[in-house]
C-alpha cells in the first residue's frame, strides 16, 4: 500500500510543527526499529482542556503525517477524551497507512499519553 493523499498532505504541509511556549505536558517516545522519535507538546488549561498541541518528529513520511494528524485531532479535547485516543483513530483519519508504518501511528498515540502523564506528574508535584 502506498501513502494516501491525506498522508502526503500532512507530510508536505504538516500542522502544529514546533514547540509551544508554556507547554505543561511534554511526551517523547522513540523506536529503534524504524529510527523514529516523536515529541508532543500540550498546553492544557485549568479545566483540563487541551488548548494547543504541537510536535517535533524525527522519522519517515508516515511518522510526520501521524504526528500532524494526531495533534490536530486532540486540540480542544479534554484530557479524559484524549486519554482514550487510540492509534487506530490516527490511521482512520489518514485514510490508512501501509502495514509496516502502522507503528508510526502507535508512536503518536503513545507520545500523547506520555505528554498527558507528564502533565499529571507535574501537577502532582
Amino acid at each position: 500500500m502506498e501513502y494516501t493523499d491525506v498522508v502526503m498532505e500532512n507530510f508536505t504541509c504538516p500542522k502544529h510543527v514546533g514547540e509551544i511556549e508554556g507547554a505543561n505536558g511534554v511526551g517523547q517516545v522513540g523506536s529503534p526499529a524504524c529510527g523514529d522519535i516523536m515529541k508532543i507538546f500540550l498546553k492544557i488549561n485549568d479545566d483540563g482542556i487541551i488548548e494547543d498541541a504541537s510536535f517535533k518528529t524525527f522519522g519517515c513520511g508516515a511518522a510526520v503525517a501521524s504526528s500532524s494528524m494526531a495533534t490536530d485531532m486532540i486540540i480542544g479535547k479534554s484530557i479524559e477524551e484524549a486519554g482514550k485516543f487510540k492509534n487506530s483513530d490516527v490511521v482512520d483519519a489518514l485514510g490508512g497507512l501501509p502495514a509496516e508504518k502502522i507503528h508510526c501511528s502507535v508512536l503518536a498515540a503513545e507520545a500523547i499519553q506520555a505528554a498527558i502523564e507528564d502533565y499529571h506528574n507535574k501537577k502532582a508535584q
Partner: protein, 402 residues
Amino acid sequence: MKRIYLDHAATTPVDPAVVETMLPFFTEYFGNPSSVYTEGRGVKKSIEAARLQIAAAINADPREIYFTGSGSEADNWAIKGIAMKNQAKGKHIITSTIEHHAVLHTCEYLEKQGFEVTYLPVDEFGLISLDDLRNAIRKDTILVTIMFANNEIGTIEPIKEIGEIVKEKGIIFHTDAVQALGNIPVDVKDLNVDLLSISAHKIYGPKGIGALFIRKGVPIDNLIHGGAQERKKRAGTENTAEIVAFGKAAEMVTEHLEDNAAHMKKLRDLLIKGVMENIPQVRLNGHPEKRLPGNANFCFDYIEGESILLSLDIIGVAGSSGSACTSGSLDPSHVLLAIGLPAGVAHGSLRLSIGKHTTVEDINYVVDNLIQIIERLRKMSPINADCPIDDAVFDKAEHHHH
C-alpha cells in the same frame, strides 16, 4: 514537471539503440536457438555475437561467458556452484560484511548447509584490509568472494591485490562486478579473478539478464539443471532478445567508458561539493577517491532518509536511502552500519547516483532544493546538536512490534 533521475545504481533506462537491437528478436527472429533449422541457427549466431561483445567488455574469452537471468543468479551460481563442487577440499568461504544481499544471503544459506563463512570487516571508508584477508585464509578455504564496487557507498575494493593474494594460495576468487561494469575498467585478466558477475540493467540494458564469467578450467557445479543450453552449464531456453540487448549495451558502455566516467565524475564532484559546502552537519559516506564515478552518498544528522526521499520526489527528483523505512525491513543499511555509523545516523542517509544523461543543471537544481529540504526537516526534528540522539537513546527506547 521534469523528472531528474538520480538512482542509476538501482537501475538505468534502456538506451534507445539497445531497444532497437532487441525488438526484432521478439517477432522476426523468434526461433529457438537450439533448433536445427534456419530460424534457430540465425538466432544462435546472434547469441554468440552478443557473447563476444560481453567477453570483449571484460577482456575474457567468449567461451568463458555464461548468460543468467540476473546479477543475483550469477552471484548465487558462483558461490553455491563453487561450494558444492569443491566441498571435499574444504568448507570455508571468505566474503565481506558489505556485500550485496545476493552474496550475503547465499553465504548465510550455505552456513545452514554446514559451510563456514568469514565476513571480513571494512574500515570507515568501506575498504577491506588485505591483512585481514591474509589472516582469514585457512587450509580449507575454497572461495573468496568480494564485491568490486559497493552499490550503496560506491567504494571500490582492491580487487587486483585481493586476486594476487588469493591466486597465490590456489583459492577460487569471485567478484560481484554488477556496479563496476560501465563505470570503471573491468579486465578479468588483469584482475586475477576466476568468476565475475555482471548485469545488463545497470548499463542501460534491460532487466532480467545477467552473466557469469567462469575462467576456463574452474571447477563449478550447475545451479539451473535441465537442457543443454550454455554449453550444458545453465539450462533454460535462451532469453535471446535480452542477450543481444546485453551485448549491445556492454559494447556501448565499453566504447564510451572514459567519456561517461569523466562526465559522471565531474557532476558527482559538483554535487558533493555543493552539498558539503552548503549544508551543515553532513557527512560523505564511502571513500573520497576510491569510489564509483556516479556515486554520492550522504548522511544528514537529525533527520530520517525516507522524509528526504519523499521531499525530493515531490520536486521531481528520484534518489534512494539506506533508511530502514525505505528497505521494508526494520534495520538500516548493513553497509552503513558496517562502516561504523550509529543506527540513528544511518537512518538519515541519501544516495544519489548519476548517469550518462545527468546534466549540470540537474545537479544545481538538486543542491539548491536539498538545502531547503534539509533545513525544513531539521526544524521539524526533536533532535539537534544540543539534544543529540545516540545509541544510548535507541537502547533505552522501547522496541515496537505492532
